[in-house]
């Protein structure tokens, strides 16, 4: 296998093209540094999550417990209680970041995240029907959420289809469908018993409370399939960003690629929603936050996924510890912190006159 590096031609995008066999990637020093930094940050968050709490465990003991060499108590707390929750947070965050990045890139709109395009609301509708009308258990709720989300995404795609799907129309149709479903959701909430309704509302917020290994397995398995496929299609995503005509001229099968990307992005978002509920704002904010750090013109898949993980891990940490012993759902935290942070970031950027 030969590894060839070459200086990138475009002076505005300094970077190196890395060719491994038949595949070639463009690497940019700043992007790589940001990705490494985010990975490190996620690791720090993980260490803090595993070692602190009602029962603090020193870091060396955590490591010992992880490699199967710790005391019974610390092994139980770290491996059975804290690790699955942490892994769920990492995986769900990455999935939401990825899904958001693909949608924002396809729609060429920072607001084009799954939250806005109706997927999250559809998942919520499915879950509400399962919770309040069918009275299903957790597994039933999760599959109803995925089903509702997929059906909504399909509906939005079909409704937006008109000799191809144009990004802006997809967002508009998504907003329409999602507003419709929002009222259906609030209607369902008013017709239910108050205890059921409040339980449903808590689910709708998105929470990582009480997540065990049975939640980690499905997410990990689904992501192991979906993420490589998405990363491979990432090259086509770059070309689609240049516009349909340019992409066509570059030999990209536009509609087929877009459909495949949408299906995969909906897939990762659905898996995330099934295990943690529709956690607000991560899919919307993570790609934008990552883009501002890397300074790239478009959203990046890897950096968005890492940023999503960081956001969710630290939000969950805050949700657990901030008002202890009250455990807030992580969705409350992502919404509040993410919203305020995005507002601050926008204000800072606009004040410095960079956009």
């Amino acid at each position: 296998m030969t590894v060839v590096t070459a200086q990138h031609a475009d002076p505005r995008l300094p970077g190196r093209a890395l060719c491994v066999g038949g595949l070639s990637f463009r690497l940019r020093a700043r992007t790589v540094a940001v990705c490494l930094g985010l990975a490190l940050l996620a690791l720090v968050g993980a260490a803090v999550t595993l070692s602190t709490g009602d029962y603090p465990i020193p870091l060396p003991d955590v490591v010992r417990a992880l490699v199967g060499d710790g005391s019974q108590a610390s092994t139980f707390i770290v491996v059975t209680l804290r690790l699955p929750r942490l892994l769920t947070a990492l995986l769900v965050g990455a999935a939401l970041g990825l899904g958001g990045a693909v949608f924002q890139s396809l729609t060429r709109n920072p607001l084009g995240s799954p939250d806005i395009v109706g997927f999250t609301t559809g998942a919520a509708s499915g879950a509400l029907v399962a919770l309040l009308i069918v009275k299903a258990g957790p597994a039933g709720v999760a599959s109803a959420a995925v089903g509702g989300g997929l059906a909504t995404a399909l509906l939005v795609y079909v409704l937006a289809w008109k000799r191809g799907v144009q990004g802006y129309r997809l967002v508009l149709v998504g907003i329409g469908v999602s507003a419709l479903l929002t009222s259906v959701n609030s209607y369902l909430l008013t017709r239910a018993d108050v205890v059921d309704a409040q339980y449903a509302a808590a689910w709708l917020t998105g929470s990582l409370n009480g997540r065990g290994w049975e939640h980690v397995g499905p997410v990990a398995a689904a992501l192991a399939v979906l993420v490589p496929a998405l990363l491979l299609l990432g090259r086509r995503l770059r070309m689609l960003e240049m516009g349909d005509d340019v992409a066509k001229a570059l030999g990209v099968p536009v509609e087929r690629s877009r459909l495949a990307l949408i299906v995969l992005a909906v897939g990762v978002t659905a898996v995330a929603t099934a295990s943690a509920g529709p956690v607000a704002f991560v899919a919307l904010a993570a790609p934008q936050l990552a883009r501002r750090l890397t300074g790239e013109p478009g959203v990046g898949l890897v950096s968005s996924a890492l940023m999503g993980s960081c956001v969710l891990v630290f939000s969950d940490l805050a949700a657990q510890r901030l008002l202890a012993p009250t455990q807030l759902p992580v969705g409350v935290m992502t919404g509040a912190v993410g919203g305020v942070y995005l507002a601050w970031l926008l204000a800072r950027e606009w004040r410095s006159g960079r956009s």
Binding site: P110, L111, L159, A160, K162, Y168, R169, V171, L172, V173, I175, G176, V177, A179, L180, T182, S183, V184, S186, Y187, L189, T190, V194, V195, A197, Q198, A201, A202, T205, A280, F281, L284, T326, L328, P329, G331, V332, M333, T334, G335, A336, G338, G339, V340, L342, A343, L346, A347, E349, W350, R351, S352, G353, S355
Partner: protein, 352 residues
């Protein structure tokens, strides 16, 4: 102009015949819309759990009387219809104003964070200040809406570029997300607040008596007048910042006055009936589809079409689930969404 066949208007400019006929057509269309509105309002008084024939409705409306029907009409249906008319006009107008000001076809009280501001204030009032009457919600909702509008506007206009459409939408989304999280954290830990809030949040005309209208009408009236007066300035704004400024439009003043009008209209309407979606989003699109891009006509049509949609939706909600009813917020969404989707598919809405 060689082919300028027409008359002179007051300024002495030549008004082409074609433009005069367009104006006449738009005026006639507005009259038709007004007639439909009157019909819908009459139906709203006539239909419900106990249907009353239209002839009797007219008779009772003219002569009053003391029959059971008269009591139903005057005590229940007329106040409800008037509230529907007022709120519908406010929401339609606010939507048109917002879409013109931000030059954003997606602008809607929800997207710019104003509904969330009102809702957050109402939740605080219920949870921490022990407010339980609808009448008192109004003040909190108004303050919340105003605060959210100010924060979103300040955030959106920070820096040199001023408040561009994309900035306002992003700022609104960010503030909304934070506020919704705040609402959730309160409603999830207070069951009684959640119980109160979920019925307000669905958006309904039921059980809102005339005291609610008495509380909000001054705000709605001022907001309406302010909005209708901005039509000409909005036409300049719609040409873009540079062109508008070159034409002598006071962009800052127009935006500030528009924001005040939007806050008054949305805050009062949301306080009165809860967040009713889709009227503000859909009505301006329908208005533009009928009368084109002249903002003065768009505003006029929105004032008439908004209440038509809201009251018609309320009537439908009363009919489909007799003797119970489906809240108006649900019906506007179910009715408004397909209209909106059809418009999105048919017209190039992205280019406003």
């Amino acid at each position: 102009m060689a082919r300028a066949v027409g008359t002179l208007d007051r300024q002495g400019d030549v008004v082409p015949a074609s433009r005069r006929s367009v104006t006449a057509l738009r005026g006639a269309g507005l009259l038709v819309a007004l007639a439909v509105l009157v019909l819908v309002a009459l139906l709203s008084v006539a239909l419900g759990a106990k249907p009353i024939p239209l002839s009797e409705v007219v008779d009772v409306l003219v002569h009053r009387g003391t029959s059971n029907e008269a009591v139903v009409i005057w005590e229940l249906r007329v106040p409800r219809t008037i509230l529907g008319l007022a709120v519908g006009a406010a929401l339609g107008l606010a939507g048109a104003l917002m879409q013109a000001l931000t030059r954003n076809p997606l602008a809607d009280p929800g997207i710019l964070g104003i509904t969330a501001g009102a809702a957050a204030a109402v939740v605080v009032a219920i949870a921490f200040l022990g407010v339980t009457s609808l009448v008192s919600y109004v003040w909190f909702a108004l303050v919340g809406a105003a605060a959210a509008a100010v924060v979103v506007y300040l955030l959106g206009s920070a820096g040199r570029g001023g408040a561009t459409p994309v900035r306002l939408a992003l700022a609104g989304t960010a503030i909304s997300a934070a506020l919704m999280a705040f609402i959730q954290s309160i409603t999830l830990s207070h069951t009684d607040v959640f119980d109160e809030y979920r019925f307000w949040a669905v958006g309904s005309l039921a059980g809102r008596d005339e005291t609610v209208l008495l509380q909000v009408w001054p705000f709605l009236l001022v907001g309406c007048l302010l909005a209708l007066g901005l039509g000409g300035a909005l036409n300049a704004v719609s040409l873009g910042d540079e062109t508008g400024r070159a034409l002598g439009a006071h962009l800052g003043r127009t935006r500030a006055l528009g924001a005040v009008a939007i806050t008054l209209l949305c805050g009062a309407a949301t306080a009165a009936v809860g967040p009713v979606g889709f009227v503000g989003l859909t009505i301006p699109h329908i208005a533009r589809a009928i009368c084109g891009l002249d903002q003065r006509w768009v505003l006029a049509y929105s004032v008439v079409l908004g209440p038509t949609l809201l009251v018609a939706a309320d009537v439908v909600g009363r009919l489909v689930a007799r003797p119970g009813e489906v809240e108006v917020g649900i019906v506007t969404a179910v009715v408004g969404a397909p209209v909106f989707l059809a418009l999105v598919r048919r017209r190039r809405i992205a280019q406003l």
